[in-house]
């Protein structure tokens, strides 16, 4: 398992992944600096005000969309010139291959989140924020957003194994991500929509008494439930896939 992860890492290192990872802080900087931050009253912590706006665009569009690109990237080598055959001819089980790809992906998403955190600092410096840095809120939203992408990553890994072309798995991603813009405005539907969870988890204005910004029940049922569905679906599909 460890050696599989190592080989996955080796493959991914050589596939321009660095540009995709650094898109995250770039987007953060872009939203944070261009978007303007003086829309909130003075009483609000400056960081929290900027975060509220940055996180919305970031978690609404960027984070769900980029998981798909990362998932397609980690399957790219295998789709070229019979790579699946070569990989599965090794003494490894398909389950382990799937697991190691999934683990690598969620690690990459964590890197994306941490780089985004870095861009929050830079935005604060550029705007000259003097308020204290709300460490607790920030970690909650960074880690919360990360956890919320687990089911999305599972579905995208499934789609990336299924389709050879980036565009096909990306279109599945887009079809599910765009309705989020409306879903988050609906109190009835929003909390149950898996693609809207990153927005809720990263919404720093949420309820701060809980561990994350959404209640545990919602986390376990919606995020956990959709994770199980997509992960098991992808896992079973990969077991049967003819290579």
């Amino acid at each position: 398992m460890i050696s599989l992860l190592q080989s996955e890492w080796y493959k991914v290192r050589k596939s321009n992944i660095i540009y995709i990872l650094f898109a995250a802080p770039l987007v953060g900087l872009l939203i944070g600096i261009v978007g303007g931050s003086s829309v909130f009253p003075v009483e609000v912590n400056q960081w929290a005000g900027a975060l509220l706006m940055m996180n919305l665009t970031y978690a609404l569009l960027f984070l769900p969309l980029v998981t798909g690109v990362l998932a397609a990237t980690v399957c790219r080598y295998e789709h070229q010139a019979g790579g699946w055959k070569q990989l599965l001819a090794l003494p490894v089980t398909r389950g382990k291959v799937f697991m190691s790809k999934y683990l690598l992906l969620i690690m990459l998403v964590l890197v994306v989140q941490v780089l985004y955190l870095g861009s929050i600092f830079v935005v604060g410096i550029v705007h000259g924020f003097t308020d204290s840095f709300p460490m607790e809120i920030v970690w909650k939203s960074i880690l919360g957003g990360w956890v919320a992408t687990f089911p999305l990553v599972a579905l995208q890994l499934w789609m990336s194994i299924l389709f050879k072309s980036f565009a096909a798995s990306f279109s599945v991603n887009v079809i599910f991500t765009l309705p989020t813009i409306l879903a988050i405005n609906s109190e009835k539907f929003g909390p149950y929509y898996p693609w809207a969870q990153p927005v809720f988890m990263m919404n720093v204005g949420g309820d701060t008494s809980e561990f994350f910004f959404i209640p545990w029940e919602q986390l376990i049922t919606v995020v956990g439930g959709s994770f199980l569905l997509f992960f098991i679906g992808g896992f079973l599909y990969f077991q049967r896939k003819s290579v």
Binding site: S15, F62, V69, S171
Partner: protein, 236 residues
């Protein structure tokens, strides 16, 4: 020659889900308005904005993201037809010019997007009539705004096609496309010279036609730069 190339390009995109996406895009934009008007119909009536004017505004507000994402997906699909099977050598080995191949890809995509835009006009007209909005049906405005958005997004089409055709790894054009979508989402805050702002038809003079003219002119320029770069590159 161009006619034949376009015909082969249309043959290549059969049964790949591209036509499905061409129809789904405009349908999705109108479906979002169905949800919007379904949930908030009373609010619209109460605010006295239950009219064709505001309905077209609502449709147009969503079109840029859908259009840019559509462009990203379609251009990447187009490029991956040859990329996936390493067929570039075979295409270029035919008695065709490289600029012809590029022009044919561009034209095919433009035709698909025009079909999408026509469908958007029809779907929005249909749903608007179903809603029974106040005032007469402004056919001309509806056609005008749908096509304005399309013309204003031509530079994005040129750029995405260029990047998609010269990248081996389709992750690069798609990441660029995600940037574009986020930029168009924040169009209100952007300076007027950024091409991703143009599809929103918003500018400091409040004249959408400027975005259309810029779109056509800069679209042509980016197309030419992309084509010349494509011609000079080695076929791997």
């Amino acid at each position: 020659m161009i006619g034949k190339l376009i015909r082969t390009d249309f043959m290549k995109i059969r049964r790949k889900g591209i036509w499905f996406l061409t129809v789904l895009g405009p349908f999705g934009v109108v479906a979002l308005q169905m949800v919007n008007y379904g949930l908030r119909k009373d609010w619209f009536i109460q605010q006295d904005i239950y009219s064709w004017f505001y309905y077209i505004r609502n449709v147009i507000a969503f079109t840029p993201f859908a259009l840019i994402l559509g462009i990203v997906i379609l251009t990447s699909f187009m490029a991956s037809i040859e990329n996936e099977t390493n067929a570039w050598k075979q295409v270029i080995a035919l008695p065709v010019t490289k600029w012809g191949v590029y022009l044919s890809k561009y034209t095919t995509l433009a035709i698909l997007l025009v079909v999408s835009t026509c469908l958007l006009t029809l779907f929005s007209l249909g749903f608007g009539m179903f809603l029974g909005l106040d005032g007469g049906i402004p056919y001309l405005d509806l056609i005008k705004y749908c096509f304005y958005t399309f013309f204003a997004s031509l530079p994005v089409l040129g750029l995405q096609l260029w990047v998609a055709l010269v990248s081996k790894n389709q992750g690069i054009p798609i990441t660029l496309g995600i940037f574009g979508v986020i930029l168009s989402y924040m169009a209100y805050f952007l300076p007027d010279w950024l091409i991703w702002k143009w599809p929103s038809l918003d500018n400091q003079w409040d004249e959408p036609i400027i975005n259309v003219c810029l779109g056509l002119a800069v679209g042509l320029a980016i197309y030419l730069v992309g084509m010349i770069d494509f011609m000079r590159r080695d076929v791997k």
